[in-house]
Symmetry: D2
Subunit: 341 residues, 4 copies
């Protein structure tokens, strides 16, 4: 009954198998190995475009590296007030950019309100020496309330950004979950909508530690700078083959989507069954594997007594996160625990 986070889940055995297979003889260091090169091709095929990719072992690193090539130290990064980059990374974006300002925007269910974005772009001009200009819009997909922006919602934000020359970053720590929900192609959810840099996370979806920073279109020109920053930040692992091997196995045969679909379905069932209990309501739509519920005290007490793992969220709700490893038995157990005797 551990629903604390998808990072408490183990890795999928296929990924460990791939690492064991990769552990054979000598290989070039720092990403020049054959597996790393193969994954790049695989991603290019998946996204239907030329791209550059760089691997890291944490989502915080991926986001901060990505932002550091899009934003200078005296620029603004626009994001939702509840964005992971604002709330949960101990200032990593500020560190990697050399002091950029994160401007928190509001909007229901952790989605940036288009009006709030418009107001910020109006209040913070691009070319006034005394004020900090917005240079990046960061969008979390799946977001921090477990919601996926629809393609139209993405368009509404990105169009405003592009009109001001503002680049677009997508924090895809739960990219697979969002994609599984929308059912569109990876290209449709990213570069075809104007996303310049995508952080595509695997760790929460079955990897040990594997995240990819993917550069599309003109942003590919930043790749040498991105590599320099990766090295400088201590994120260029000597034996990079073991990270690439995880990605390789994760992408093979659409395993990544299968795992995300499993987690989403588990989230869905958990939400539906708990909401059937008296007084339980969702705080946010359940688009992926994260479930936010308003729980009566009695339910909360029963769950805690039974040792169910979930977090009390700052907005007063309870967060349950399903993962690729969540079993039917886990769901049954937590529903049973929540139900009045």
């Amino acid at each position: 009954m551990n629903f604390l986070s998808d990072t408490t889940a183990p890795a999928h055995p296929s990924l460990l198998d791939a690492m064991v297979r990769a552990n054979d003889g000598f290989a070039p260091s720092y990403g020049a190995d054959a597996i790393s090169q193969g994954v790049k091709q695989r991603l290019s095929d998946l996204f239907e475009t030329e791209l550059e990719v760089l691997f890291t072992t944490s989502g915080t690193a991926a986001n901060a590296l990505a932002l550091s090539i899009l934003s200078g130290p005296d620029d603004i990064i626009l994001c939702h007030d509840e964005a992971h980059i604002q709330r949960d990374e101990r200032g990593a974006p500020e560190f990697f950019t050399g002091g950029a300002k994160l401007l928190p925007l509001h909007g229901a269910h952790a989605k940036i309100d288009p009006g709030a974005l418009g107001q910020a772009l109006a209040e913070w001009p691009q070319d006034f020496v005394h004020t900090t200009p917005p240079r990046v819009l960061s969008i979390s997909q799946l977001n921090e309330s477990g919601c996926a922006y629809t393609l139209d919602e993405l368009d509404a934000l990105i169009a405003q950004a592009k009109a001001q020359g503002v680049a677009v970053h997508m924090d895809g720590a739960r990219f697979a979950n969002a994609l599984a929900h929308l059912g569109c192609s990876p290209a449709q959810m990213t570069w075809k909508r104007g996303v310049d840099v995508l952080c595509m996370g695997a760790t929460k979806d079955g990897a040990l530690a594997a995240e990819a920073v993917i550069l599309f279109g003109d942003a590919r020109a930043h790749f040498p700078k991105l590599q320099a920053r990766q090295k400088r930040a201590g994120h260029m692992l000597p034996k990079m083959r073991y990270v690439a091997a995880q990605y390789d196995a994760w992408l093979a045969d659409d395993l990544w989507l299968e795992l995300a679909r499993h987690a989403n379905a588990a989230g869905r069932e958990l939400a539906d069954r708990l909401c059937a209990l008296e007084g339980v309501q969702t705080a946010h739509p359940t688009d992926g594997n994260e479930v936010f519920l308003r729980l009566p005290d009695a339910v909360k007490d029963r769950l805690q007594a039974a040792g169910a793992g979930f977090y009390a969220w700052p907005d007063g709700s309870a967060r349950f996160v399903a993962s690729w490893r969540t079993t039917q038995a886990d769901i049954d157990a937590v529903v049973r625990a929540a139900t009045a005797p």
Copy 2:
């Protein structure tokens, strides 16, 4: 015949086995898992003292994090001109400290000359507002010319540092190799000599990606700051258990020392047999697994023709690095290739 670097070697199977064993069910994130806690105890026993430990996945990250808690942005870090932190980390120490100045010191065989250290400490005072004060002395053990400081040599440097209130950092990317060479205890080579923070590397000695930052004595008080910096730098992995599992297996039954002794012996044999060839000389003493040789052009040509992997070093020598995985056949092959027909 790959002697390019010990980072081109694979991981020891025992470490992968440990990762597979760790991949069982849910576990707390970010280092709160049981394996991480167990390794801390193991290290404490090994070093015969209370300590704090934090894991990273690259030596650059370990060094930069360690230095960031010992040096402020307006301080000096003293190191050898050829130190890895000065030459090979793309400015990671400057990044993590917020702009500290690395002051390169000279000395033969990449060992800091005690006189050069004394001069620097005299020229850069501790309390003059216009100049940057030295706050950290960084010592590489094994160093970048493959040499180990003797205990007396360590004492001569550290005594000077401590007399000025300067903290001591040890870059132990090849700590095991140095220790195997000196034959003393881990405590004798570190905190008993005045080392405040040790970066103890496992990656070059059989791990996939595992480095430990170890705080001794009063430096332990910096642990919360170190954790905050680790998080901020994107080095606090969500599923930390897989890094700890590597360390656990590496330390078990003195595997780490056994692997280092193997690599050192391979380096020794390689140096001895190649030096038996006419015109071949060592450029630096071979204390560990790194061999620096001055090679006649004919020898160099034969080696390259045979596809032997080694680096042309900036000092004009050729660097060969043996690893835990170097076999007798590898050595025989490279010696055969180097020998005139």
Copy 3:
């Protein structure tokens, strides 16, 4: 009719006279001169306490230096959403702190709402490694809407901050104007309320370029660090005597308060007479020398046609700033221009 800013006004002649007097023979550099030392004593007498003081030539520098000794790079600085440090310093606080996060709080008339402060302190804990902890509360007095916090209002904010160990910075670019409005003593408006560091500006009140960073109580221990940061930021002027001389003349015979009272009275009269016109209203209370008015288009047009200098403020109002140099004729002229023929 130049009401664009108090920084467009010239300097008071007494200050230039003092600079000319200071321009006599050789003097120690970097603040060790006799005038600098005398001003420190004068300030200590004025504030009725021991203090440390350091001079700069811009308010942005004063604020950023002050914040850099109170906040680490991975900390939060709490301020109003419209604060000068957030809106008008091109990220200077982020630069000087090495990447601190400014968390913008809301509240009417650019005053931080105590409830908003309480919520932020609750949402951002002091000791959770993943999130950035608040370490400084920055209060502008006079604030960016021209309002002065009452002593009770200061108490309500500062008490919350202190309860969490959060330090208090006061941006006093228009300190004299606020003090003249409240009529209390400098001590009562600062350290007796819990202010740790005050930036006391003279430039907007008759100086050429002179700002003081003043450390009270325990904050005095940061003085060596503050000096190092001043040097490192290029703000330790070699010939500091000319800045100190300005301060000396400014403080003499309460000239500073006299100039502020003049500016406040001019602002008051301007507000009253313009508000007597049909359709004109104040957007914020006029506590000092800044007047924010909602103007009918016809009035705005007449003023612009007459060449009156004022700014269209982001909140839709028109900002007029009176200064020590504003004359009765200036006020009469602008009122005449605004009045329908």
Copy 4:
């Protein structure tokens, strides 16, 4: 007998007169005033080329701002081991660049040895992700041993830099003294030789606090970035007219060169007369207003007993600095004091 530094001298009265004249009525803030614009034209005429100029109030700020637009955070700035930017600015270049690495080069009399420059450029490649690439060469003219590079010496260094795409910064804190020594035109000593950015100091040559960062040729494109950094660093003074007024008077009727010639001649006479004493020798050539002497202990004792102001320099010599304000009486007095009775 104050020969401690040219920064202990007062300002030339003409400059204060100009400030008093500038103190008339309202003027645009932040450098948009008429005097600032006029000085830009004057400098353009003087240097016989289009240029951009930005004023600061300290040489440290000028250097650090200049370097921050030429060097990224992960780049190297090449300079002499004794350069002011390396030794005397408390890490300001590291701060403003976000962590660039200053690589100290050797050479007699504080002049960078061309061979040392060549070796550094060879050892630190432009395009290797693991090492920091050199991007800027910084040359002090007059340098820290009081010497001026000849035009040929400048060519020898700059040609090497340009061949690698390395930009050239000139620290001209004593630019006037060097120019007066060489007798060439300002253009010949700067952009015609390949200097991209010049920091032209007035403070040590008669100003209160006035330094100019001048961008030549393609470097002019960095001007908006330079202004943003100036603002962000708190160096964009609200009432900039008072700095521009100093520059205006300083450049008028070649006052700046006249003052430098006076100081150089005073230095020359001081060196010649003291070297006539038994056992006194120059440690470095006296090209400008700085005199470095090796003094017998008896001479040193007599000078100190007489209260003569000079510094014991780290290289064991005694540094005397003449200024525009040094009188014949000052020189006579110090020579008399040094002479055995």
